[in-house]
């Protein structure tokens, strides 16, 4: 206890230095906290679930995925065609419709992007929504084919409110302009900039469309973008996935069936180099920089206290104990700064800002609670590293030399 007190008192002797070192450590732990939150977010996206899996079926080769509507029914049944074939527990179709409310001035602010789907499936198939969407809103969407539920951010951008009507001029579905009544608002978060509409409304419009020569819409046979399936466990997923990918029904275009996590992972593969740089260059680089700052502060402190260290040795402190004393000072400083920073980051980001927005357009991702251990770990670890040499130097102070100089 006395030893701890000594460490504490030593740190308080040069308050400016202690504060500056703490601040430097805090700043760098803050950088690491932000970067690791991003890494957590990416891991979270690609995490493999084992139960109640959601499979997503998309066009096998091309981006964006555009499949014919004739795929909808067999895909919804998991391409089950033989006795013993497994069927998914539930399915959901996604069609995308993008347009502008101001065709004369197509700015990003006038755009609106709809997911067209079956309202009956919103609360059962979309995990994120079933917890937060008001069932009454979904009921309204079910009742009105031309109803639209829009995220708060998009509503604000297009300057509309629930109850108002909007006319959307189709951009990808050229010539298909739709009028909507806004029947509700999506919650903030992942869907805050999107809108959801009834898939029947879009399907009817595409079916009714006739071009100048009576032709069907160019996207008529490419209107189905995603099919979601709810499957049981990974074995069920493997079986259904195999049924779908082996089925002769889906050849042109071919389709692929994967879990949501693996689909995101395949997108992130394109950023592998960048993510590698963040993980293995940026974070270690920050830590090297922090180590240098701490090493400098501790070595300055040791150099100024050579006489005192010599006296401690005369009083019976062993070299090892002196080394532990210096380490202890650095460690205390690193641990406290690390814990304080991660705690502050946790509260500030999560409570005040709702998290860190990793990608533009994505909802903020909360700083994980794990930061409360990694902050002190990073702070303490780098403090130990930074104080290795100064502590060794303190341990090696020669009493005779120090007193000879004084004499």
């Amino acid at each position: 206890m006395k030893f701890l007190l000594l460490i504490f008192k030593n740190l308080l002797r040069n308050k400016v230095r202690t504060i500056l070192t703490c601040l430097a450590t805090m700043v760098l732990v803050f950088v690491v906290t932000m970067i690791w939150t991003v890494v957590y977010f990416l891991n979270d996206l690609t995490e493999k679930k084992t139960e109640n899996l959601q499979a997503i079926i998309t066009e096998k080769w091309q981006l964006p995925s555009q499949m014919p509507m004739s795929y909808a029914q067999p895909l919804s049944e998991g391409a089950a065609s033989h006795p013993g074939d497994l069927r998914p527990k539930e399915s959901m179709l996604w069609l995308f419709y993008g347009g502008t409310i101001d065709p004369e001035n197509k700015t990003r602010d006038s755009l609106i992007f709809f997911i067209a789907t079956d309202p009956n499936k919103i609360l059962t198939m979309i995990d994120d929504l079933k917890k937060i969407v008001d069932p009454k809103v979904v009921e309204k969407l079910r009742q009105r084919k031309d109803g639209a539920v829009i995220g708060p951010k998009r509503l604000k951008t297009i300057n509309k409110k629930v109850g108002e009507r909007i006319k959307v001029t189709g951009l990808d579905y050229k010539g298909i302009d739709l009028e909507f009544e806004i029947v509700g608002e999506l919650p903030s978060g992942q869907y805050e900039d999107l809108a959801i509409m009834n898939q029947d409304y879009l399907n009817d419009a595409i079916d009714a469309y006739r071009g100048p020569s009576g032709s069907r819409h160019p996207l008529d046979q490419r209107r189905l973008n995603f099919v979601w399936l709810r499957v049981g466990n990974s074995e069920d997923f493997a079986k259904i996935s195999n049924q779908i990918e082996a089925s002769p029904l889906f050849r042109n275009p071919a389709v692929k069936c994967e879990t949501f996590g693996s689909m995101v992972a395949s997108f992130l593969d394109a950023y592998t180099g960048f993510i590698w740089f963040i993980k293995w260059i940026l974070v270690p680089g920050s830590m090297v920089s922090m180590t240098m700052v701490i090493a400098n502060a501790i070595s300055l402190s040791v150099r100024e206290r050579r006489k005192e260290i010599a006296v401690l040795k005369v009083l019976g402190f062993s070299p090892g104990r002196i080394m532990v004393l210096v380490w202890g000072e650095a460690l205390l400083l690193g641990l406290v700064s690390g814990l304080a920073t991660s705690g502050i980051a946790y509260v500030v980001f999560n409570v005040l800002m709702g998290g860190i927005r990793v990608f533009p357009g994505n909802p903020p991702y909360p700083v994980p609670l794990d930061c409360l251990w990694w902050g002190p770990l990073v702070g303490g670890g780098t403090a130990i590293l930074g104080s290795l040499l100064p502590a060794w130097s303190a341990r090696s102070v020669k009493v005779a030399e120090v007193f000879a100089k004084i004499a």
Partner: protein, 446 residues
């Protein structure tokens, strides 16, 4: 030039001001510069550790900016100032565009389109983005996004995009396919036709790396989508997005990927940048037969740098926060130096040196440390210049393009690194220098 870095004025004016202040400090100082230098040398361990912290911060900044610079250069080099990209109205990207085949001839006859030898300089194209499963060097399965451009007439397309083949290659044949007895459809082992492909230099290297080669060569085959492809040529496309593309005949690409009866884009050559702008405006607003969205290629590709701008913002955020850490580090060093040399300061004041001379001396010391560390960071950072990297570039409205590029450390990057380090040194050194200046001579001598 790296056009997403802060504008040149915002970069060079502060740097110039700091450099001027440095020169003024050097010229007007009365205390010999050697005094400062000797102090730094005597306390070499502290100087070194502080400088290393600066080196790391500036090195990371340089590498990150070099990455963004490479992305920007790819985007900038892909556009020809005289080219106009025609998409269907409402299409936010080439992949979303559907141009009726029948309209192409009439569009090419619009005034402003350059004709040569009786042919319009117009490339009719189908552009497709493919998700290709592959295996990484560690054996892990991964995915790669590839861009395939189906061109109607490879000669015209090459002329419009100003691309040429590396020696030994040839452009696509009229049919765009070749019979092969050894390469059937993947997995079936039967003799079948292979699709002729001309690869950009960068993607040839990327695909070659999959099989342990430096690059795919003319005559090599590879699997992509449902078919096997034969390399008939490799395009020289230094640092442009076309270097990451695979070209094949439009009809074959359309048939293979379900875009048979359409073009996604027409690339028209106008006389110069001004004519291109006029042509684009005319096609977008006055062409009545079908609704078009025409932009100059320069405008289209500049939009693709949105992703680079977002990364650059993140880079500045991270670097600024790290710089604050560096500032605290140098403050520590300088405060310690002042504490150690309090009696020196007292003597200097008593023999007549003014307060501001003391301030200048200590400020110079911190700037010298910053320059040593930051300069070293810039030098080390320079070694990433030309290193190959890959990422996606794109606007928020479209499908991003996967590009392989070389990182760029240009004078702007070095200037930014130096500005950063001098700002860190100046900010970190100012408070301690102020404290040194305010020391009372007699008290400091006690």
């Amino acid at each position: 030039m790296n056009n997403t870095l802060p504008s040149l004025l915002a970069l060079y004016i502060p740097l110039g001001v700091i450099a001027l202040a440095l020169v003024l400090l050097m010229l007007t100082r009365k205390i010999p510069f050697q005094y400062s230098v000797r102090n730094l040398v005597v306390r070499w361990k502290t100087t070194m550790m502080t400088a290393v912290a600066f080196t790391v911060v500036v090195l990371l900044l340089t590498v990150m900016v070099a990455f963004v610079g490479g992305m920007n250069r790819v985007v900038a080099r892909s556009a020809h100032p005289g080219n106009v990209l025609v998409l269907s109205d409402g299409a936010t990207d080439e992949v979303f565009s559907n141009l009726p085949i029948n309209d192409a001839t009439e569009i090419e006859h619009q005034p402003g389109v350059v004709w040569q030898k009786g042919r319009a300089l117009s490339s009719r194209e189908v552009y497709i983005c493919i998700n290709q499963p592959t295996t990484g060097p560690d054996g892990r399965s991964k995915h790669r996004f590839l861009q395939i451009r189906g061109v109607e007439d490879p000669d015209i397309a090459a002329q419009v995009h100003e691309l040429e083949l590396l020696p030994g290659g040839q452009w696509l044949s009229v049919g765009g396919v070749q019979e092969s007895s050894t390469a059937g459809s993947p997995g079936d082992g039967k003799a079948a036709s292979v699709i002729e492909a001309v690869l950009g230099e960068a993607i040839a290297q990327e695909l070659g790396a999959d099989r342990g080669q430096e690059s795919l060569q003319v005559g090599d085959t590879f699997e992509l989508g449902p078919r096997r492809w034969l390399v008939v040529g490799i395009m020289r496309a230094p640092g442009s997005a076309f270097g990451s593309e695979i070209w094949a005949k439009r009809s074959i690409v359309g048939e293979t990927f379900g875009k048979q009866n359409l073009y996604t884009s027409l690339v028209l050559r106008a006389g110069d940048a001004a004519s291109a702008k006029a042509l684009a405006d005319r096609l977008s607003h006055q062409y009545k037969k079908s609704a078009l969205q025409a932009t100059t290629e320069a405008e289209y590709y500049s939009k693709l740098s949105e992703s680079a701008e977002q990364i650059l913002s993140a880079v500045f955020l991270v670097a600024s926060i790290m710089a604050v850490g560096g500032v605290f580090g140098i403050m520590n060093t300088m405060f310690a130096a002042i504490a150690q040399r309090a009696s020196d300061i007292g003597v200097l004041r008593i023999i007549g040196f003014a307060r501001w001379q003391i301030l200048a001396t200590f400020l110079l010391e911190s700037l010298v440390i910053a320059l040593i560390g930051g300069g070293l960071g810039c030098i080390l950072g320079y070694f990433v210049n030309g290193i190959s990297a890959s990422t996606m570039v794109g606007s928020n409205d479209g499908i991003p393009k996967s590009v392989v590029f070389e990182m760029v450390v240009d004078p702007n990057t070095v200037a930014l690194g130096l500005l950063f380090t001098l700002l860190m040194g100046g900010l970190g050194g100012f408070l301690p220098a102020l404290a040194a200046m305010r020391l009372r001579p007699l008290e400091s001598l006690r």
